[in-house]
């Protein structure tokens, strides 16, 4: 089914009237909710101009932007390390050598069912007891990498498995080794096919960096906490920061969407697969 439009007919006069009524009811309810929310906010003085004015000023924004830099820094590190480790894991899980396959599978399955916060508590409170006291940035990046590597591995593996078998078979019949076939033929295509999923994973990873709040690493949400503790503008600060996350992730999601339509156009090129 392509779109929502199949679910209903081109509305006739009565249908149009019904849609109009439903639209009006929706708008009325929406306006009522918004007005009610605004009144609740106003009655507690949360809409006063001087509670919002700080967020029109540069010092506050420069303070928050330092946090955003930390978020981006942590996200970039986790993305690079997690993708690299995830690729190794995916290849391990696809490996013909049984012990390697088992190890990779076990790692992926375990890491996927552990909450990131638990991993963070382990790095925060357990590892120092064994003499491993990482710098703050790595206390956030290490657990996130452990968790995201498994997610990346599953994405890459799905990509490799989605390739037609003929690709690998053709490479082998040309005299390539397994490794060469994977490296030169299968992986380049598979990675291109999963590019949109990788970018979606980046969104989820960027959301995960908000756990820097627990680690006390200087990222956006932690900065917001410090700022709110200082200026007591809890509602305003956390709302603004939530919107900053929204904008960053919408940009990434938009990139993922564009990549998806782009790759779809690419793969829709007339490569005719002849079956014998």
């Amino acid at each position: 089914m392509s779109g929502p439009s199949v679910l209903f007919d081109e509305p006739g006069p009565r249908g149009r009237r019904r849609i109009r009524v439903a639209s009006i009811v929706t708008v009325v309810v929406l306006v009522a909710v918004v007005v009610l929310a605004l009144r609740v906010f106003a009655s507690h003085g949360q809409l006063d101009a001087d509670r919002w004015r700080p967020f029109g000023q540069w010092p506050i924004w420069s303070y928050l932007l330092v946090g955003l830099r930390g978020t981006v820094q942590a996200a970039a590190l986790v993305a690079v390390l997690g993708a690299a480790f995830g690729l190794v894991l995916a290849l391990g899980r696809l490996s013909p050598v049984r012990p390697i396959r088992w190890l990779a599978t076990a790692y992926i399955e375990i890491a996927r069912t552990l909450p990131v916060l638990l991993l963070i508590y382990v790095t925060l409170f357990a590892l120092p007891a064994y003499g491993l006291n990482l710098p703050l940035l790595w206390k956030l990046v290490l657990p996130l990498t452990v968790a995201n590597a498994a997610a990346f591995a599953e994405i890459f593996r799905a990509g490799v498995l989605s390739m037609p078998r003929g690709q690998n078979e053709a490479a082998l019949s040309l005299g390539m080794t397994r490794g060469q076939s994977m490296r030169l033929v299968v992986l380049p295509q598979a990675l291109r096919a999963v590019a949109p999923s990788v970018v979606s994973q980046l969104v989820s990873l960027l959301k995960d960096t908000s756990l820097g709040y627990i680690v006390a690493f200087t990222e956006l949400l932690y900065r917001a906490q410090v700022l709110a503790a200082y200026n007591h503008l809890l509602v305003q600060t956390y709302l603004v920061v939530t919107l900053v996350y929204l904008v960053c992730n919408l940009l990434l999601s938009g990139a993922a969407y564009r990549l998806q339509t782009f790759t779809r156009r690419r793969t829709a090129a007339p490569v005719v697969e002849k079956t014998p």
Binding site: L7, T26, L211, V235
Partner: protein, 214 residues
């Protein structure tokens, strides 16, 4: 190992909180998610837009930021609920967006002829959605929705960050007192894996039961 047994009541309390948060938030997210999907495919443009905005917003905002906003900031406008209730509410509205995404992909798998046949029989939009489209769409998304539920178990641990004493928090507390991280955290990890396994197995079971063989 002893430390686990000695602190079993506290840890089981935490596990219990995790389980009931998961169940309540899971059921809530399922209901809200299906409603959002219904709005998203409805003939009313404003409802479609609202549902689309809802999903986009919650897919792109960190759950922890929402938890912090609801738990620490909203009491400033008089919205004061018990802590665990607030966490569950946040999880419901957050995971509902993911459920909605999954169910919508299920609606896309329903053959076009089904909707056309429903229309040809004279079913209204709500009837065709309720009687024809959704029953088939939901069967197709048991596995994806199961994955959302597993993600929900993982996300209940975020409630520890705002002070709810669930499994992660109680494990952490026990460790802070007894300083035996290996048995405590491994035990908590195993409990989470068991929960995920239970959800995974039951989605597999449900999927086999409701699958349509064509």
């Amino acid at each position: 190992m002893n430390v686990l047994l000695d602190n079993l009541p506290a840890l089981l309390d935490g596990l219990w909180t995790t389980v009931w948060m998961t169940v309540v938030a899971g059921v809530g997210a399922l209901i809200l998610g299906v409603l959002v999907t219904a709005a998203r495919v409805s003939p009313v443009p404003i409802l479609r837009g609202l549902a689309f905005g809802y999903v986009q917003f919650f897919l792109n905002v960190p759950a922890l930021a929402l938890l912090v906003l609801f738990v620490f900031a909203l009491p400033d406008v008089g919205l004061l609920m018990p802590l665990t209730t607030t966490a569950v509410v946040v999880l419901v509205i957050y995971e509902a967006a993911y459920v909605a995404e999954a169910v919508r992909s299920g609606i896309n798998t329903v053959a076009m002829g089904q909707a056309e046949a429903a229309r040809a029989l004279g079913l209204t939009f709500v009837q065709s959605l309720r009687l024809v489209i959704l029953p088939q769409a939901l069967r197709a998304v048991v596995q994806p929705v199961g994955n959302v539920m597993i993600a929900l178990v993982m996300n209940t641990s975020l409630a520890a960050a705002v002070g709810v004493v669930e499994l992660t928090a109680s494990a952490n507390k026990v460790n802070l007192v007894h300083a035996q991280p290996i048995p405590i955290f491994v035990g908590a990890g195993l409990a989470y894996m068991a929960l995920a396994l239970v959800i995974g197995l039951s989605t597999g079971f449900v999927e086999r039961r409701v699958a349509i063989f064509r």
